[in-house]
């Protein structure tokens, strides 16, 4: 009646391939992979990184523990070494403790890290005064930046102004309009000062992602969603679109140039002068 074939080398093969492959790769992965994150060059991103690292420690501990148990059991309780199965099996309740500990860990991470980091990200905005405020308007397949210029006031915007060459619907008679200026793709911000970006979209859903700044925010038409981050290192960083937005999605690249405050002020002054005459709207 016994149809299951004799187990010769095959479980060993299974074991071997398992051990060779998963254990080290996986184990290695969990120690290395958070290190694989791009360097965090932002002030607020540390919380994100910490959380990722702590969760991965929990996961690695669970995984390695269970996997060790798993391989032990496969060796110890296969048909050859244990011909007669034990009807009852494990009698103690160790597993309840394991489950309890997992739950407690998750709870601690939730209360201690995830919720505070999130509330800092979405509620605790720095004041406009102390920040660089820009508007980011996404469209297929380009990031548009709208800067208020030296006085920090944006021109009025309304749907009724939308025309073919004024797709953002700006009020060109607004006195601040002349100071405002626009960039396509390449953003510039000063270092060590929070940036508040009001993110929106003209057409479909995009997602503003600058990984080294630990900022990711969907750009949703009909909504303006603010996000903030604080660059702490001078350099140029890639911005990518992280939400499928059509056939040019993969090319919807932008850059974030972090410069010193003086360089930034110079850049703003130059841009602002050219701004209005360079014609609002997108390029």
């Amino acid at each position: 009646m016994q149809d299951s074939p004799k187990n010769g080398i095959n479980w060993k093969l299974f074991l071997l391939s398992g051990l060779i492959l998963i254990l080290p790769t996986w184990y290695g992965f969990y120690w290395i992979s958070p290190a694989h994150m791009p360097e965090n060059d932002s002030g607020q991103g540390a919380g994100v990184d910490q959380l990722i690292i702590y969760v991965h420690i929990l996961m690695a501990a669970l995984f390695v523990g269970w996997l060790g148990y798993f391989f032990y059991v496969l060796l110890r309780f296969n048909k050859k070494s244990n011909p007669k199965a034990d009807y009852t099996g494990v009698k103690n309740h160790a597993s309840n403790y394991v489950e309890g500990i997992v739950a407690i860990f998750e709870f601690v991470l939730l209360i201690g890290f995830a919720i505070p980091v999130w509330s800092r990200a979405v509620d605790k905005f720095p004041s406009d005064k102390d920040s660089t405020v820009i508007k980011v308007i996404a469209q297929q397949f380009q990031w548009n930046g709208w800067y208020p210029g030296p006085h920090g006031v944006f021109a009025a915007q309304d749907r009724k102004f939308v025309t073919g060459d004024n797709t953002f619907g700006l009020d060109k008679n607004d006195p601040h309009y002349k100071e405002n200026f626009f960039v396509a793709k390449d953003f510039v911000v000063p270092v060590n000062k929070p940036v508040i970006a009001y993110i929106s979209s003209l057409d479909v859903i995009h997602c503003f992602a600058c990984k080294p700044m630990r900022v990711t925010q969907d750009a949703i038409p009909g909504m303006v969603i603010p996000a903030h981050f604080t660059p702490i290192k001078i350099g140029t960083y890639q911005i990518n679109c992280a939400q499928l937005c059509g056939n040019g999605h993969y090319q919807m690249r932008g850059t974030l140039k972090v410069v010193s405050q003086t360089d930034y002020d110079k850049w703003v002054a130059a841009k602002s002068k050219a701004g209005a005459s360079a014609g609002g709207g997108y390029e």
Binding site: M1, D3, S4, N7, F14, S17, G18, L21, T25, W26, F29, E39, G47, V48, I52, V55, L62, W66, F70, V73, L74, F77, K79, N82, A85, Y87, G89, V90, S95, V98, E99, E106, F107, L109, F113, A114, I115, W118, A121, Q139, Q140, G164, D203, I205, A209, R214, T216, Q217, D218, I220, P221, G222, N240, A242, L244, N247, H249, Y250, Q251, T255
Partner: protein, 620 residues
């Protein structure tokens, strides 16, 4: 003991006329035939979904190089809008639109046309009535209609590749406004077909769900109380409820999106859309987030639909091949019920970055963390069941065992996604891709393979070849891991998903901080592993068809010495399944009961064992 065959039983069961070919195989109302129809169709779709990915992986590994051989073929079938030329002038480069179509269709096919029909339609149909001792489903004709809806929905989806503009290309999630805006000049377009196809598939699932639940409630054999049900049946039961209650909102959403696309309503379109510099003439006032809520309200329960039947299959096979009862059966049942309930209140964890406030985000990440606990409970119970076992390493068992750590990896990596703060970094990267593929590919697909090898003897009366089964297992296991493990690295470094060029645009260059060459380079070995995985399926495909007529014959109706009722039928089971009505006396996994003569005690064996040759007690 010789297996009872169809011919033997015919004398008792019926004197009806043998139905013709069409009646018997195409328009059958027999749950087993319908199960097999589902199974074969779904395997074809699984293969097709995989083929799409094998082609896409070429573009990811070698962006803008013509796909060898197949590229030319595609060019002739789909035309020059979809397939272009590479720098050297070779025809066969997948264009971005086609890449997006393939991606959306890979996701849709895999989820709705392959895994659900295989796990729920095929295994649910074939095994559930047998395991509960029922002669068929409660509504056999409805059952047939569900299969036909499924088939028709699938055909509709596929035919959309050949219409102008091509198939749906807005991801399997079909987010509005993109889904409405793409191919806007073309009606009906791929998205319309996608929606119509989905409506058919949803109808099919709804009918199936009603049928399954009614069957499990009404047709359990005498003595088969709820806590004596095999875990597989519980898993199917909860799955059916998920489908029943989660699919209708997507149906509603589909209707609304169809209205947006065809009748120019604005359910999901906000005021003031400007597409390609042109203001759209729509009324506006809708909400893109509404679509996401409706979609993910289905979407999250749906992912449990993808995994629960797999867990059920694995539990059956583990119990049988460890030769001992499942440890903590009751806690598993409660856990699966809790999963079913909680899965309705976690959906917005897919939407953390849509501008969610702290309070709502806290709610959803708390529920998300809560739902991981019952999964841990189930996995823990399965792991602990191995202690004290006498494990038989046959092919189904190898796949079932491998399921455990693979699901573990996929499940655990759900945690950093479930915390919204860490999701800021990981959202929509390859980390997400790796997370869920570990669950559905080496997880669910392995469970399904395990189920195929395990129940094949019941369906055909023959075993699949054991040696080639192991080869299939070893290679699939190896390559699955080589494919999906590196994706975690890619995701960690920030490689976004749905990138036509595999992220080459975002490579660090000229002093701009971006993706490293290494991480983009990983695309190449991953793709090689994908194609190798494809080759590794050849033994399976041959084995599957070859064994129908040539496989080793079973020598008993219960070739694995199992306890559950499906092994108490003739082989293959005739129309009406059981020769006599059964009565159940015990729980599902009574293996190695101390003092019993064999190491398994079937559920229907009477308490004071009479010699089995006298047959089972007949209910009056």
């Amino acid at each position: 003991m010789q297996p009872t065959t169809h011919a033997d039983t015919h004398a008792h069961t019926s004197n009806h006329e043998e139905p013709g070919f069409w009646q018997k195989y195409i328009f059958s109302t027999d749950h087993k035939i319908i199960g097999i129809q589902y199974g074969v169709t779904a395997l074809m779709f699984l293969f097709l979904g995989f083929c799409l990915m094998m082609i896409m992986r070429w573009q990811l590994a070698y962006p803008n190089h013509a796909v060898p051989v197949i590229g030319k073929l595609l060019y002739h079938v789909l035309g020059e809008d979809m397939v272009g030329k590479d720098a050297a002038g070779n025809v066969g480069v997948i264009m971005p639109d086609l890449y997006n179509s393939f991606g959306a269709m890979h996701g849709t096919i895999m989820v709705f046309l392959a895994i659900v029909p295989l796990a729920f339609g095929a295994f649910g149909n074939f095994v559930t009535p047998l395991q509960i001792g029922a002669p068929d489903m409660t509504f056999p004709r409805v059952n047939m209609v569900s299969y036909q809806f499924y088939f028709f929905g699938g055909v509709l989806m596929l035919s959309s590749f050949f219409i102008p503009g091509g198939a749906a290309k807005s991801g399997w999630t079909s987010y509005s406004p993109l889904a409405t805006v793409s191919d806007m000049g073309q009606h009906p377009n791929g998205q319309t077909f996608w929606i119509m196809g989905m409506v058919c598939l949803i109808s099919s699932s709804l009918l199936g769900a009603v049928n399954f639940i009614t069957t499990i409630i009404q047709l359990r054999a005498k003595g088969l109380s709820w806590m004596r049900l095999p875990f597989f049946v519980w898993a199917q039961f909860v799955t059916a409820f998920l489908l029943l209650l989660a699919f209708p909102p997507l149906e509603a959403a589909s209707v609304l999106q169809l209205m947006d696309n065809l009748l120019h309503t604005s359910f999901f379109l906000p005021t003031g859309l400007v597409v390609s510099g042109q203001a759209l003439h729509i009324s506006g006032g809708g909400s893109p987030l509404l679509w996401q809520h409706l979609f993910w309200f289905l979407g999250h329960p749906e992912v449990y639909v993808l995994i629960l039947p797999g867990m059920g299959i694995v539990t059956e096979i583990l119990a049988c091949n460890t030769r001992k009862p499942i440890w903590g059966y009751r806690s598993m049942v409660y856990a699966v019920l809790v999963i079913g309930f909680l899965s309705f209140i976690v959906w917005a964890h897919h939407m953390y970055l849509t501008g969610m406030g702290t309070r709502i985000a806290t709610f959803f990440q708390t529920t998300t963390m809560m739902i991981s606990i019952p999964s841990v409970v189930i996995l823990t119970a399965l792991f602990i069941s191995l202690w004290g076992a006498s494990i038989r390493f046959n092919t189904p068992m190898l796949f079932a065992l491998a399921f455990l750590p693979m699901f573990g990896i996929g499940g655990l990596t759900g945690l950093p996604l479930g915390f919204n703060a860490s999701d800021i970094h990981l959202h929509d990267t390859y980390y997400v891709i790796a997370h869920f593929h570990y669950i559905v590919a080496p997880g669910t697909i392995f469970a399904l393979f395990a189920g195929i090898y395990y129940w094949y003897p019941k369906a055909t009366g023959r075993f699949m070849n054991e040696f080639w089964g192991r080869v299939h297992f070893g290679l699939s296991f190896l390559f699955m891991n080589l494919i999906f493990m590196p994706m975690f690295y890619q995701g960690m470094e920030g490689l976004s998903r749905r990138m036509y060029d595999g992220g080459a645009t975002y490579e660090a260059a000229g002093g701009v901080v971006g993706l490293s060459k290494y991480v983009i380079g990983l695309n190449v070995p991953i793709s090689h592993a994908v194609w190798a995985l494809g080759l590794s399926q050849i033994p399976f495909i041959i084995n599957f068809f070859w064994s129908v007529n040539r496989g080793k014959k079973v020598t008993s109706d219960n070739p694995w010495d199992a306890t559950t009722l499906e092994w108490q039928t003739p082989t293959p089971p005739p129309h009406g399944n059981f020769v006599k009505q059964l009565e159940v006396f015990r729980g599902p996994y009574e293996y190695s009961v101390p003092g019993h003569s064999t190491d398994f005690t079937p559920q229907n064996e009477p308490e004071k064992p009479e010699p089995l040759t006298h047959g089972n007690p007949v209910r009056s």
